[in-house]
Structure formats: structure tokens, C-alpha cells
């Protein structure tokens, strides 16, 4: 069973003469252990696609199945819980809570999880992302790169089955970008997670299993 399946999903913004079809009807499947990259020019609909996959917004039409369950039949509370339990987001804008130190970002996950989950070892994550020295800093006291890595650490912390990353390497130097992408690849391949990454950096595509290109709201598989 695929982790996520998207069937005939499209997304329109506005109406009448201002109608924009940001995403044309699209079919897409993400399986366990897959690392998928999405490329494409800005404004082509990549973020729209990713946020619909992540249940952050509803499609205009079509259905999204997560672990075989139809999300259109869920209420918003159930979708919120699904996000909390299955998804890890690495967003363009920060996905960190400004009044929590890096360490406390993890604590929130522990506090709010209803089921006893297996969280990743936070010390290990901090080491992996070279954040040990700033673990007690607030997001506003982190450099752009540190903030991005903290966001990645936060996304990985709840051991999500599905990781959605919107340009996670945008503010990183190429060495760190390589490290982050290989970490995502490792998460996908070794712990059988599904990872989708939007990126502009074509040098990073070598580590991915599939590459899709988005153009004017149309998604085409390249690899």
C-alpha cells in the first residue's frame, strides 16, 4: 500500500476572470522508502502541490489517500492529528515556534503526542545537524542556516512516515546542502519513510529515486 496516493487532484485559486489553475488534475503516488524531488520554475505550483499532499489545504477536486485512508472523509480535527502523527514539514517559511528554544520545540512534540510514540533521540538529531551549541537558542537567535537545520531536526523528530520539504537547502551552503539531502535520503531508504523535496539545486538530484518537474500546474515525471 502506498504512503500517499493522489487521485485526480486539482487546485484553483480565485474565480471568474481571476481564476488560476495552480494545479491541473494530477495523479501521484509516494511509496515507502522513496525519495522524490520536485523541480520547476517559481510560480509553477510546487508549493500548492506539496501543501495539498500535506493536508494543509484541501484540493478543489480529487482525493488524497494516506495509508489507504480517504482524507476527504475526515474532519479537520482528524486531519490535524494525522499531520501531527504522520507528517514532518520543512517549510519555506520557518516551521519553528518563535517562543520555544530548539530543545523545547522537541518537547512540545513529546507533550502533545497522545500515543506513546518512538521519538528520535534529540541529542543525536542535534549532533547530526550540528546544532548542539544552539540547542537552547530561540529561533530568532539562529542564523538562517541554523534555523533551516533546526526546522529539519524538528520535522524528523516525531519520526514521521512522510516528510515534505519545500526548498530545505535554500539557505544552506553547498556542503551542508549535500549533508541535509543525504540525511533525507538516509531517512527514506533506511527507515522506510517517504520523502518529497522541492528543490532548485539540480546537483542534489543524484541522491533521489524519482524526479518530477512542475510546469504551469502540470506535473511530469522525469526520472
Amino acid at each position: 500500500m502506498p504512503l500517499i496516493e493522489m487521485i485526480n487532484v486539482n487546485r484553483q485559486y480565485g474565480s471568474g476572470r481571476t481564476l488560476v489553475e495552480a494545479l491541473h488534475p494530477t495523479n501521484f503516488v509516494l511509496n515507502k522508502g522513496e525519495f522524490v524531488a520536485i523541480i520547476g520554475p517559481s510560480g509553477s505550483g510546487k508549493t500548492t502541490f506539496l501543501t495539498i499532499l500535506g493536508l494543509l489545504q484541501s484540493p478543489t477536486q480529487g482525493k488524497i489517500f494516506v495509508n489507504g485512508k480517504d482524507t476527504s472523509k475526515m474532519n479537520s480535527g482528524q486531519r490535524t492529528d494525522l499531520r501531527f502523527n504522520k507528517f514532518g514539514f520543512i517549510l519555506q517559511a520557518s516551521n519553528l515556534i518563535p517562543f520555544l528554544s530548539v530543545n523545547d520545540q522537541f518537547k512540545v512534540v513529546d507533550k502533545f503526542s497522545r500515543s506513546k510514540r518512538r521519538s528520535r533521540n534529540s541529542a543525536e538529531l542535534l549532533r547530526l545537524l550540528d546544532l548542539q551549541n544552539v540547542a537552547n537558542n530561540y529561533p530568532s537567535n539562529l542564523s538562517g542556516g541554523e534555523r533551516q537545520r533546526a526546522a529539519i531536526a524538528r520535522a524528523l523528530y516525531n519520526n514521521p512516515e512522510i516528510i515534505l520539504a519545500d526548498e530545505p537547502t535554500a539557505s544552506l551552503d553547498s556542503k551542508r546542502a549535500q549533508q541535509v539531502v543525504s540525511l533525507l535520503a538516509q531517512v527514506a531508504h533506511e527507515s522506510q519513510r517517504g520523502v518529497i523535496m522541492i528543490t532548485h539545486d539540480t546537483r542534489l538530484l543524484a541522491m533521489t529515486d524519482h524526479v518530477y518537474e512542475m510546469q504551469d500546474g502540470f506535473l511530469r515525471q522525469q526520472k
Binding site: F84, F89, F99, K111, F112
Partner: protein
């Protein structure tokens, strides 16, 4: 609780402002309450001391004790037994020997053996006509045990032989004399056996033409100015408590609006709105708790620095009730923001700041 506290600690200045506002409002509420209770008590403690159920006063007195006179032939049939007491009241001006200062006081004429005879905290009950018992509030005017006082410019001095406390009526302290002294002061002679009122310890019914039986509560409410004064204070206090609702409502609404994108991030992470609202209410509880708590501390200290003549009375039960009222109002104010929080779209996390 975790989110609530972490956020307060991270934005100390912003939330300190809220605490400070709550503190000021609570302190004013407590202060006004203390004055209201203090003033009310000055009107009535002497009546409360009787621990009685009803009084019988003249039908013409319009339920006002100070206006009541009952002649002997009207009351003598009912003045029977230990549960009935005669009282004479007259407003007088007292003067300490060798002092020019005139002090407004009440004279309560009583039988020293009746149940409304004052409870002493010092000295003894009078044995002669020119011996009196006074309320200890008069020590603010240097009237103490063994003081010699003039009443209404009398030529002879009265000697203070006993001290009582919490005996204030119509906002002035009470001087207790025997019935004869009272009658001389009010009617010029002790031969007229008039009294002001008969006080009944129990609910015994009295039906007599020309007399009216009223409850103690009624009697207090008809002390001139008493009801109006209590009402004015109640309105002020209620207004302040309601203002809490508005201020917290507005404060929290502004803070909530500023946090929309942050809430978006939390929603995107899968934190339920219920958690966010819970955190909002925890914050309000914490902030009002601290603010009102500090106000309680300060009010506790205040009474030690106020002059004794200020009618300030710490009513801790009232403070607790008002603190709860302020908290409820603050929580209601917070619920103004709830709709806003419920509408938060996790997508606002993507759109960024």
C-alpha cells in the same frame, strides 16, 4: 500549560503589561471594596452587636431609628422578658476635658442588664449616672479609660469607666449611658420614660397601633444614606470588574492577531486548535492570578499605612469572591479571541510573515 508559560517567559514585557493592568484594576477593586465595607460597618456595627432579629419603632419614624420616639404607654406592654431590650438613641457632640475639639458621637441609652448592654474589652460597666462606656474608636480622639468628657456642653463631666469595640452607628462612635442619662439628653428630663426603640432578640410578633415592627436588615437599610452609599460603591466595583472583561478581551485579541502566523505554524505541525485555545486560557489564568495576587498582597500591606480614621476594612471573603469574578471576566474576555483562533488556517504558515 507548557506553551502558555514558555510564551509568557519569552515575551516578558508584553505580558508584564497585562499583569500590571490586572494588578491596578484588582487593587482598585479591593480598595473600593475595603472602603465600602468599612463605611458600611461604621453605619451599622453597633446594630450588628445586638445579634437581634427585629425592632419596634414609632410608626411615624419612616423606619428610621434616629427619628423614632415611643412613649411609655405604647411600649410597656411589650417590654417583658430577657429577649426584649429598650434602647434610646440620640446624636450628640462630645468634648474631652481641657480640649476644644468637638466630636460627633451617638449616645445609646441602655439597661446595663439587658442583652444589648455593650460587651467590654476593658474596664467595667457603669454604676453611677455620670459613668459611661465608649467605643474604642474614640481613642483616635484621645478618649480612653478614665477620660472625663462633656456631652452636648454639659456642665458636669462624664467619666469613661468601660471600653467596648465595634460599636459604631450612623458613621459615628457610640457612647453608652443608662436610660435616664439618655432621657435627660434627648428630652431634658429623666421623668419622661420615652425610648427610641424596642429591640427583640427573636421573631416575636408585635401588633400595636402607632408602632411598626421591622427586621434588623430593614433598620440598617433605613439608616439615612446607607443604601445609597452601598449602591454607589457596588456600581463602581461592578463597573471595574466589567472593565476587566473589556481590557483583557482587547489585550488578548491584539496579542492573538499578532500571533496568527505563529498559530499557523503550530496548526501545520499538527497541534490542535483546542491546545492553542487551552494555552490562551491558561495564560489568562496565570496573568490574572499573578496580577490579582500582587494586588491582594499590596492591599494587605496598605491597611498598615492608612490613618486609623480611614474607614478601611479588609474583607478577605469579598476579596476572594472579587478575584474569582475578575478571573471569570478575564476568561470571558479571552473568549473574544477564540473565534479568531478557530479560524486559523495552517496554510498561513506557508505564506510566511
Amino acid at each position: 500549560m507548557f506553551l502558555a508559560i514558555k510564551e509568557i517567559l519569552h515575551n516578558k514585557m508584553r505580558y508584564l503589561l497585562v499583569v500590571f493592568t490586572i494588578f491596578l484594576i484588582s487593587y482598585m477593586v479591593f480598595f473600593l471594596t475595603s472602603l465600602a465595607v468599612g463605611l458600611a460597618r461604621e453605619n451599622r456595627t453597633a446594630v450588628d452587636q445586638w445579634d437581634a432579629k427585629t425592632v419596634v419603632i414609632s410608626g411615624y419614624a419612616n423606619k428610621s431609628l434616629v427619628a423614632s420616639t415611643i412613649p411609655q404607654n405604647s411600649y410597656q406592654d411589650y417590654d417583658k422578658g430577657k429577649d426584649v431590650a429598650k434602647l434610646g438613641q440620640v446624636s450628640v457632640v462630645s468634648q474631652l476635658k481641657d480640649s476644644k475639639k468637638k466630636i460627633n458621637t451617638n449616645v445609646f441609652g441602655v439597661d446595663w442588664k439587658s442583652f444589648i448592654s455593650p460587651k467590654l474589652i476593658d474596664g467595667r460597666l457603669p454604676e453611677k449616672n455620670h459613668e459611661v462606656v465608649v467605643d474604642d474608636a474614640l481613642k483616635n480622639d484621645s478618649i480612653k479609660l478614665n477620660s472625663q468628657i462633656k456631652i452636648n456642653g454639659s456642665s458636669k463631666y462624664y467619666k469613661v469607666v468601660g471600653i467596648t469595640k465595634n460599636n459604631s452607628f450612623f458613621a459615628t462612635p457610640v457612647i453608652f449611658t443608662n436610660m435616664d442619662v439618655f432621657r435627660t439628653m434627648k428630652y431634658g428630663s429623666s421623668r419622661t420614660k420615652n425610648i427610641s426603640t424596642l429591640v427583640f432578640k427573636n421573631n416575636k410578633k408585635v401588633n400595636a397601633t402607632g408602632l411598626e415592627q421591622i427586621s434588623i436588615k430593614d433598620l440598617i437599610n433605613h439608616i439615612p444614606g446607607y443604601t445609597a452609599q452601598v449602591l454607589v460603591f457596588s456600581f463602581m466595583i461592578a463597573a471595574m470588574v466589567i472593565i476587566t472583561f473589556l481590557i483583557i478581551g482587547i489585550f488578548m485579541y491584539i496579542i492573538t492577531i499578532q500571533k496568527i502566523s505563529l498559530y499557523g505554524v503550530m496548526r501545520a505541525q499538527g497541534i490542535r486548535t483546542a491546545r492553542i485555545i487551552e494555552s490562551l486560557f491558561y495564560q489568562i489564568l496565570i496573568l490574572t492570578g499573578i496580577g490579582a495576587g500582587l494586588a491582594l498582597l499590596l492591599i494587605g500591606v496598605t491597611q498598615f499605612f492608612l490613618p486609623k480614621t480611614v474607614p478601611f476594612y479588609s474583607d478577605w471573603l469579598a476579596y476572594i469572591v472579587l478575584t474569582l469574578a475578575i478571573m471569570v471576566m478575564a476568561l470571558l474576555g479571552g473568549s473574544l479571541s477564540m473565534r479568531r483562533v478557530l479560524k486559523i488556517d495552517p496554510l498561513s504558515a506557508i505564506e510566511g510573515e
